[in-house]
């Protein structure tokens, strides 16, 4: 079953508003990755976080890794229509270190 939970499943925002998606795991993650998938497209790697409490920024996107390394968040400031898509987190949970488990994603709609 899904071991990396992501909320919310859907989010509609007005252009210019902020957006946040959250990723939670019941077990400690060695690292977490974030991907973006545009409608009809394929997932594209955004960033990887490794250290406890790590914060990284990419222009209007801010990524955080929790102190306990069990949760992460992606925050977008002042959304634009180009931000539309589904955002996925992914991490290694249990078992083989070779398997990356994806969250179910947050589908972002930006209304102009």
């Amino acid at each position: 079953g899904q071991q990396v939970m992501q909320i919310p499943q859907y989010q509609h925002v007005q252009e210019g508003e902020d957006f946040t998606t959250y990723c939670n795991s019941s077990t400690t993650l060695s690292n977490i990755q974030w991907y973006k998938q545009r409608p009809g497209g394929h997932p594209v790697f955004l960033i990887q976080l490794v250290k406890s409490g790590e914060v990284k920024k990419q222009k209007r996107l801010t990524f955080q890794f929790g102190e306990a390394k069990k949760n992460s968040s992606l925050h977008i400031t002042a959304t634009q229509t180009t931000d539309v898509g589904t955002y996925f987190c992914a991490g290694i949970v249990g078992g083989s270190a070779r398997q990356l488990t994806f969250g179910s994603g947050t589908q972002l709609t930006v209304l102009p």
């Binding site: 690292n31 790697f45 990887q48 490794v50 992914a90 290694i92 270190a97 070779r98 990356l100 994806f102």
Partner: protein, 116 residues
């Protein structure tokens, strides 16, 4: 992304027939993965490969087999397709695999498979 291609892009097949999907990379990456994507489930790992002839099962491997006889090609076979295997299939590659020392995956454009 350049460097990874999937074929075919779309396929409709009948229940009970075998189907093979191909993933081809020109990056010489060691690690290759097959995922399926279904609404509400995100991406689920089917099988992966960590080298030529080295493969292992993922979360949803039942009904699927894989082969990797060359670095550049990773084939996914549905032995006898069922309607539950209707999905979008993505191949991904990685230079250093998964983990803190790994890099993000590069995904292919996907294959939309419909089993009728």
């Amino acid at each position: 992304d350049a460097g990874i291609t999937q074929s075919p892009r779309h396929k409709v097949t009948e229940t009970g027939t075998p189907v093979t999907l191909r993933c081809h990379q020109t990056e010489n990456h060691r690690y290759m993965y097959w995922y399926r994507q279904d609404p509400g489930h995100g991406l689920r790992l089917i099988h992966y490969s960590y080298g030529v002839k080295d493969t292992d099962k993922g979360e949803v491997s039942d009904g699927y087999s894989v082969s990797r006889s060359k670095t550049e090609d990773f084939l996914l076979t549905l032995e006898s397709a069922t309607s539950s295997q209707t999905s979008v299939y993505f191949c991904a590659i990685s230079a250093k695999g998964t983990g803190p020392l790994g890099y993000g995956y590069t995904f292919g454009s996907g294959t939309r498979l419909t089993v009728v």
